[in-house]
Every structure is written in C-alpha cells, then in structure tokens.
C-alpha cells in the first residue's frame, strides 16, 4: 500500500531541493497563466475542449471503430489491447517478427503505465528513450516524476555524473548546453541505427485515422521518420472526432503545460512511410472501467498537460515519487484509485482540496471534487489506515453531540494554553510537525456570539 505521507517524508528531507522544486513548478504555472491570459477566448476554449471530450466519451466505441477503419485505409495496422500485459506482448511480438535489434522510443506515458521498457528489457532489448528527460531517468534507473518534465527532480550535478558514467562526458561537468550537446551526439547514433521507433500519441483523429505527436526536441520525428518500423501506442481515450478539433486542443495543450503557444514540432502521421510499416496499438488498461464510474469518468478527458501538477501545493512540495503511481499529482490521484483503491488509498488525501487543479485544467476536469468523492468511497470501503479511521469516528461522535463538543472545545483551549510544549508537539500531533499551532483563543465563537447578542 502506497503511503503518500511516508514517501513525501523522503523527498522533504532535502529542504533546499524542495524549495527549488516548488519554485520551478510554480514558474511553469506562472508561464501558463501568462499564456492563457494572452488569449481572450481561453475560457471558451476550455469549455469547448471539455464538450468535445464529453462527446468522445459518449460515443467512444463508434469513434474507435471509425478510427480503426480509416487507419486501415491509410495502410496502418491496428491492434487492440485490453491491458498493459497484452499491449507489451503486442509490441514485443512485432519487434521479434521484424527481427529488430535496435529501437528508439519517444515519450509515452502510456508505455510507462504498462511498464513496457521492463518487459522489453526482459526480452533482451536495449530500449533507448530519446526524450532528454527520459534518457536521464533511464540512466538513473528511475520512473518519471512528472508527465511533461520527467526528470524535474534531478539536479544538473547528478545529470553530469550520469552522463559521465554512460556517455563519457567530462567528470564534474554540469553545463546544460554541454550536456545536451553530448546527448545529441549520443542519441543521433541511436536514431541512425534504429530499425524500429516507438512513439506515444497525443491525439488520434477518428475521421481520418491519423494521429498527432507533439515534442519540442523533435525526437519522435527523428525516430519515427528514419526507422522503417513505426509503432504508436495510445490509450483509447486519446480519440477526437475531427481534425478541426485539433485547433482547440493544440491551442490549449502547450500553453497549459509550459506556457508555450505550441510545441515546436506537431507531427501528423497518416500513412506508413515509403518502404515502411506503421502499427497502432490501442490500449484499455482500466479505462473502460473508469468510463463506467459516473463520478470519475471525466478524468478520461485528460490530455496529459501536467498543469494540475504544476499548480498543486502538495505535488510541488512532495515531489512526483511520493504518489507511487506513473501519473502523479491531482490527476494521478484520481486515476490511480480507479486501478486499485486499496493500493492507492492514500492518494486522494494528498490534497488540500484548494481547487487550483480544477481551475487550470484545460479540459475542465472537476479534479478536486473527484478527490473528495474518492475519499468518501475509500473510507466507505474500509481502505483508510486505523489512525485516520479512529480519529474520524471520534470526530463524528463529538460533532453529533453539541454538549460534548462544547466541553471538548473548552478543555482543548485550556489544555493548549497551559500544557508544556512537549505535550502538544509530539508524534501524535502530525499537524504541528513543521508548523506552529495558532494561539488558542480565550473563548469560542459561540460564547462570543452569545455575549454580543445579549448586549
């Protein structure tokens, strides 16, 4: 069972790093705000995007069939995978069938979710992640800690050390320009030798069977446009009905993610390249179940921009790994319990419910409402730890008995004023761990109100 709080403790040991993480992601959020404000119709776009996705969810089966039909007409081959295991097997079998020795991969959170790399490595493949951030964490043998900037938690000194070890940069080098240049040279070799390229999918278009991949580095294109075999992996919720809808989503995506007006490369793939093959793998892996949960199905509208993470005070201060799930932050905390509400029971509680995630979401997912609803379900199903359960039960009892409530209030105020520090700040008081409690008032609001009313 993942404990967000326990994992967060590991991250928060290095306070300087926490502050850096916090400020850096807030920087991304601020850039997003500037970008959003530069477009007068921003709020209309969010509403449109949400409505389009609403329509997609209501007709998902038909759109998938339409997409499949058109992709086949384009000359692609289409596979359906009900879970991660089947997805991995499809990809692995394709590599075996084509006698692939060298493959490159661009960023795909879906393949992270399915643990494709591990599966292929077990088959003996050297999987080469080509997004710079992903290559860094691959060297570090870590999963991504953020869906847009996967190596956001790694400092340049650590990257310098990894690059020294794996690609022979000078020891102690930390200059981002130098390190990026070295990675460029290293990965160019990989691109030129690759026989197969695996990419993710940002949007798949039902009406023409094409799909769109967005990058700033151009790594998806260097891979997919050179290697004879191209494999695109997508969750079934990536569908949009028409090409014209790209206008709405592409205006929102990069602005929400990093504050850019668009990624520098937005590639539209339709047919296999000359003398090449194009395979598309469509994956369910729990999405159809989430579709059946009325309270949570909106989470399938997500376009993976990461804005909810950048803005989340808990994510910024606890880091991506504290969530223990491929997708961290508010959206991850809504998706993960859908996969396993016992394992990920602590995630919906890793939120202040401030609602900032909901306010920045480009497709208007009601994230904080869903977090609140998951809490209720998780408690109902008995998936909270004993201390939380016990304190909730006690609080319920006290709130149900007004006389007891007043007595407890009075006692607590007195206790707070008179007790020595160690009685208040100890392991039982988790709230007071790194904070001071406010001064205890002399009277309750109720007493104050009665006094003033009488006068």
């Amino acid at each position: 069972m993942v404990s967000h709080a326990k994992n967060a403790e590991k991250f928060t040991k290095d306070l300087e790093k926490v502050d850096w993480h916090d400020a850096t992601l807030w920087g991304a959020r601020s850039k997003r705000d500037l970008a959003a404000k530069s477009i007068p119709e921003w709020e209309s776009l969010r509403t449109l995007a949400s409505q389009i996705k609403e329509n997609v969810l209501a007709n998902l089966d038909e759109y998938l069939l339409e997409f499949e039909k058109n992709a086949l007409l384009n000359g692609a081959e289409v596979f359906w995978a009900k879970d991660g295991e089947e997805h991995n097997k499809i990809v692995g079998d394709l590599l075996v069938k084509h006698n692939i020795n060298n493959l490159v991969k661009s960023k795909s959170i879906l393949t992270e979710e399915c643990h494709l790399n591990q599966y292929l490595e077990d088959l003996g493949y050297d999987v080469v992640d080509t997004d710079l951030g992903e290559r860094i964490i691959q060297f570090a043998k870590q999963p991504p800690s953020h869906i847009v900037t996967p190596a956001i938690h790694v400092k340049k000194e650590e990257i310098g050390e990894l690059f020294h070890q794996y690609i022979g940069t000078e020891k102690g080098a930390t200059d981002p320009q130098y390190l990026t240049e070295a990675a460029r040279g290293h990965l160019r070799e990989k691109f030129l030798n690759a026989e197969a390229a695996i990419t993710g999918v940002n949007f798949a278009i039902a009406e023409n069977g094409g799909f769109v991949v967005c990058t700033n580095e151009g790594n998806a294109d260097m891979g997919a446009n050179l290697a004879p075999i191209q494999i695109a992996c997508m969750g079934i919720e990536k569908l949009i009905p028409k090409a014209e809808h790209l206008g709405v989503f592409l205006r929102l995506l990069a602005r929400s993610a990093t504050g850019q007006s668009i990624t520098n490369y937005t590639s539209h793939f339709f047919t296999p390249k000359k003398n090449g093959k194009l395979y598309i793998v469509m994956v369910d892996n729990g999405r159809t179940e989430q579709l059946g949960r009325e309270d949570f199905r909106n989470s399938l509208k997500c376009i993976r921009c990461g804005a909810c993470m950048n803005t989340c005070p808990v994510y910024r201060k606890s880091g991506g790994y504290s969530y223990g799930y491929t997708i961290p932050g508010p959206i991850g905390s809504v998706l993960a319990p859908g996969r396993d509400d016992h394992e990920y029971a602590s995630l919906p509680f890793a939120s202040s419910l401030c609602g900032s995630c909901t306010n920045v979401c480009p497709v208007k997912i009601d994230l904080h409402d869903q977090l609140y609803k998951w809490r209720q379900q998780i408690v109902k199903n008995g998936n909270v730890d004993q201390s939380k359960k016990w304190s909730m039960q006690m609080a319920t009892y006290i709130f149900e008995h007004p006389k007891l409530f007043r007595f407890m209030g009075k006692t607590a105020r007195l206790f707070m004023r008179l007790s020595p520090r160690f009685l208040i700040y100890n392991s039982l008081n988790k709230w007071g761990k790194s904070r001071e409690l406010p001064d205890s008032p002399k009277q309750s609001f109720r007493d104050w109100y009665i006094n003033h009313k009488i006068r």
């Binding site: 850096t24 920087g27 477009i39 209309s44 389009i52 329509n55 969810l57 209501a58 089966d61 998938l64 069939l65 384009n74 359906w80 009900k82 997004d131 710079l132 951030g133 860094i136 900037t149 996967p150 400092k155 340049k156 981002p176 320009q177 990026t180 460029r184 160019r188 691109f191 023409n208 094409g210 700033n216 580095e217 151009g218 294109d221 260097m222 446009n225 079934i236 090409a243 014209e244 790209l246 206008g247 709405v248 850019q260 007006s261 668009i262 520098n264 490369y265 937005t266 590639s267 539209h268 339709f270 047919t271 390249k273 369910d284 159809t288 179940e289 579709l291 059946g292 009325e294 199905r297």
Partner: protein, 193 residues
C-alpha cells in the same frame, strides 16, 4: 471474445449518454497585423525572422553564413543547394546535411507554426535531421490562429504533415532552455512580400 470485442462491449455498457459536438467558432482577433503577431510568436519560440521582397536576400544570407563545403539541400526553385534530393534513395543518407531550405505551405500568426506536408519535403525526416533549417513563407499565406489553420489544411492524400514553430529545443536539465536537442539547431523564416 477478442480484446477488440471485449473493449467495445465494455464501452457500450459503461458509456454515458448524449453530448452533441459543439460548433467551433473561428475566434478572429482584433485586427493586429498578422505579420507582426507572427514575428513575436516566432521570436518567443527561438526562431529568427527576415522579411524580404527578393529571393536574392536568401542567396546572400546563405552565402554569408554557410561555406560551399557544407552540405545544403534546397527544395525551392531559384535556390541551388549542393545535395540533390532526387538522388537520395534512403533517408539515412541525409545525416550530414548542414542546411535545408523548404517552402512553408502556410503559417499561423498566434504561434508561428508553419505547415509542411510530405509532398513538399521529399523525405519526412528532412526538416528534422538537418543541422539548420530555413523556411520560406509568403506573407499572404499567414492565417490568424489554429482554427483557421485547420480549415486551410487539406489532409486528404497527405501521408505525413507537421507544424514546425521553431528550432529543436529542450529544458530537461533544471529547466534551462537549450536550443538544438535532436533536430535543427536553428530556424530562420524568410517572410516574402
């Protein structure tokens, strides 16, 4: 039951009802000159803009910045390179290109995205594999935003198409912007009258 049937069956059972598709407006802007918006957008994306009336300016620019020893491939009439795309059989042969010059089909002012389709680039990897990229764009081929862009694109008979809005870049090392990650190290756009 195959996975395909199983997935479709589950969707049928679980999907919500209704929800018609909204009509997407064009969202026209406030009439600011498209060229100016385009330039601002391109600079933000770390690209360079050169406005010109004459193809000679492009010649001059290339002569000034590149030597005859460098490998240059032009797909624009009137600008000669020294790599003939017609003689290339396999895209891997393009690996040593220093400069590629292509004609953009149209540009989008709000984000400086320039549309290229497979038909105008020969090999799909051409604009990515080159060290530097020049795109030539006609001023009359600017549209305001992405909604108008998708009205303009004809995706029929296009195998591959891409919006390029700047040079290859990354910020994956402590959020420091570095230009030239895997693709072209620079993008220069010649905007022609």
């Amino acid at each position: 039951m195959s996975s395909r049937e199983e997935i479709l069956e589950k969707i049928k059972k679980n999907k919500p009802v209704g929800a018609i598709l909204p009509v997407i407006p064009d969202f026209p802007g406030d009439g600011e000159e498209l060229e100016k918006i385009f330039e601002k957008s391109l600079i933000k994306n770390s690209g360079n803009l050169i406005s010109t009336n004459s193809i000679n300016d492009i010649h001059e620019y290339i002569n000034k910045n590149y030597s005859p020893a460098q490998k240059i491939c032009s797909l624009i009439k009137g600008i000669e390179g020294n790599v003939d795309i017609e003689k290339i059989a396999d895209p891997h042969e393009l690996k040593d290109l220093d400069l590629v010059i292509l004609k953009g089909e149209f540009g989008v002012a709000e984000n400086a995205a320039i549309w290229l389709s497979e038909n105008t680039m020969g090999f799909r990897v051409l604009p990515f594999i080159t060290q530097h990229l020049i795109m030539v764009l006609s001023k009359k081929d600017l549209v305001e935003n992405m909604h108008l862009a998708y009205k303009k694109i004809n995706l029929k008979n296009v195998g591959f198409g891409v919006f390029i809005a700047g040079p290859s870049k990354t910020a994956d090392i402590e959020q420091n912007l570095v230009i030239g990650a895997h693709g072209s190290r620079s993008l220069t756009v010649f905007l022609m009258n």
